[in-house]
Symmetry: C2
Subunit: 222 residues, 2 copies
Amino acid sequence: MTIVNNRGKRFRVPDATIKRLPLYLDKLILLQQAGVQEVSSRQLATSLDIKASQLRHDFHYFGGFSKPGRPYLVDKLVPALREIIGIDEPVPIVIAGAGHLGNALANYRNFERQGFPLLGVFDVDADLVGREIRGVTIRPMSELADFIRERGIRLGVLTVPLDVAQIVADDMIAAGVTGLWNFTPTEIKAPDHVIVRNERLAVGLMCLSFKTKRIGMPEEMR
Amino acid sequence: MTIVNNRGKRFRVPDATIKRLPLYLDKLILLQQAGVQEVSSRQLATSLDIKASQLRHDFHYFGGFSKPGRPYLVDKLVPALREIIGIDEPVPIVIAGAGHLGNALANYRNFERQGFPLLGVFDVDADLVGREIRGVTIRPMSELADFIRERGIRLGVLTVPLDVAQIVADDMIAAGVTGLWNFTPTEIKAPDHVIVRNERLAVGLMCLSFKTKRIGMPEEMR
């Protein structure tokens, strides 16, 4: 990604740095909610399993955010990172599929706190339609496309059954969604202007299992 | 991580390679379930947004898994990767907290398919205790530690409310859990021999939002 600094100079920021920005922001929002006002690069980095020098290097691309030797001010760093990541304004989301996982995600308060208010939840099941999840009414799936179009929603969460995943995704994309968070265990075909993020929960368990098996081994065998 | 090959030679595998192994395995299990028998490095890599050369390089550390120019045999590659990752035997898990997220994860069939059978779900809520989730009865939280100890369970999923997260984590660790999958938005303090994986769902949305904002920009600005 290319950044333009205050003096109009353009420079490239490595992808690896970009990928860490949401992790920093997520952590800082937690600190902010806990009432923490200042945090050192070491504290912030350690809690994320990153080296402090790496974090300072990452922040350096954006002006550093603090004077050398001084802690970061959480209330200043949060909006600065929000702006860089592009979520300084709330980014509304919809959830397609109100089954177990859709329901759990709709109940996950943290999305809102992080800047992603939930505007709509959709399902084909007549028993679910009309129910409320934290003030959001479950609507019929047939209204999904119009809802997205009318409200200009760009991010959609896909938690429908496997066999209808592509159809629902196509509907969402045709209606204007450019970012799809896919929780179904299938690949979604999408045009080039759409980003699909496949959330593979089992991969988390695999990584965890792999690491625990190695923790007892001597350092050089890990 | 250090690997010993057939000839007894030891060599180091980069962490980045290790981190990609679960992604490969996850994808291959999906292909296997879909009845796919052969896959080229290009097909496998492309579906994971990785370069084919990178994938072949990763596999090379473990003998390559196929002859040059030949596709991988899915049914051979899956058990080979399972063994390397250390999940050739099923790794049982328990879930502490049967709220929305715990319930959704307990209903997630893919964990079992990937080698992580769910043995127990626990909650303090008397209304939930005794209910079944896919054949697994929700038990009182007070039985969690004994259950873990008696069955030698090493992986635990933490989906309890924030304010009891550390207490429940301590219980699980004292009972023998060495890998904790933490879905609560708090940091869990754990001894050195325990791996805590913090699953920060909102980070997924941040990354997705960030990428969609850049997709319309010229290549050099992304």
